[in-house]
Symmetry: C2
Subunit: 206 residues, 2 copies
């Protein structure tokens, strides 16, 4: 057990009193309530996973708000997070509209058609007042490959109704989307077990 002198304790208390005053003042000056446009981008892990974590936060609210998920790239394959979220029944509406990664399909016209179908579904869900959080998984990939017109997408997301939070995931988020967003997190890759020859692990990658 670390020894704490009375001087250490007093110094710590004084420092933390100051810190708390700053913190309280910062919280007090914020007042706007709005549905946020959130972007998770960058080469690191956790972009989609953090979006699904946010789904939990919505599902834990007693107001009964629903979570919508549209996956732009992933197809109908099963995943742990999908199975787990579907245990919340009608509070989660999940649509995997992709045809797989673009290097799997190798068919540009098919990729574009799939992205358009997914986007139509998004527009429909944006109009559903029961949905409090909408996750647009890998939309950044569809935008990066120009499967959808960026101005159309940014305009529609910016015109979301009050109270609807939207999370867009995927690498290489477009500058215009970042500009329109309220909250942008860049997931940076510091270290990855694949580099050490460790394969995809159950419960982590799938």
């Amino acid at each position: 057990m670390t020894e704490i002198s009375p001087e250490d304790a007093a110094r710590h208390r004084a420092k933390m009193e100051k810190r708390k005053a700053v913190q309280d003042a910062e919280v007090a000056e914020k007042s706007v309530e709005k549905g946020l446009l959130i972007v998770h981008t960058g080469p690191g892990k956790g972009k989609s996973t953090a979006a699904f974590g946010l789904a939990l936060r919505t599902l834990g609210q007693p107001d009964g708000a629903k979570v919508g998920v549209v996956q732009f790239i992933k197809g109908a394959w099963e995943s742990g997070e999908r199975r787990a979220l579907e245990s919340f029944g009608p509070r989660v509406e999940w649509h995997s509209m992709g045809e797989g990664f673009t290097w799997e399909t190798q068919d540009l016209a098919r990729d574009i058609a799939a992205a358009r179908r997914a986007w139509d579904k998004v527009r429909e869900m944006m109009d559903d007042p029961a949905i409090g959080l909408l996750i647009l998984d890998e939309l950044n990939i569809a935008l990066r490959y120009d499967y959808l017109p960026l101005p159309e997408v940014v305009a529609a997301l910016s015109a979301r109704r009050a109270g609807l939070h939207i999370v867009v995931t995927g690498r290489n988020a477009k500058a215009e989307l970042i500009e329109a967003a309220d909250l942008v997190t860049e997931m940076g890759l510091v270290k990855h077990h694949f580099k050490a020859g460790v394969k995809a692990q159950k419960g982590i990658e799938f």
Copy 2:
């Protein structure tokens, strides 16, 4: 709808065929199965949220593996993600062992004692073979303030049993922990709505 010439389609296909070959070769050369030590750090959002998203991935596995959560800083307050994860019943074991942020308690001895109790709980859960994923939420904060001896913590986490994934969250992860980890993601803050005077939003921050 974007026009695609036959040349564009062929070029796309050739590029993607190459990309797929690289991808397949990369997957094939990985063979090690192990429980991962994962660190989510950095100033951005999503460190804890991505950890809870991983919990979903474990809970969606049909093997019935349990998720353990030990919160080092947060106290007994309710949160959306906790309520949602607790709907999985005995598959989630959640312990909020903190006394609040250190600038709230302003009492160093109390913070150290709380961190030690939390760490004892972690050691106990690391020995429980039913647990497949253990989330040590904000452990990095406890390590940063020297509430726990870093060598003891790193040694114990490194000696985890095979098959146990551990996720450590919090800003300012120690270099020794990053060194011991298999997978490290740095969440970078690109843009935050607090700066625009928008307050903490239900379903996003709590």
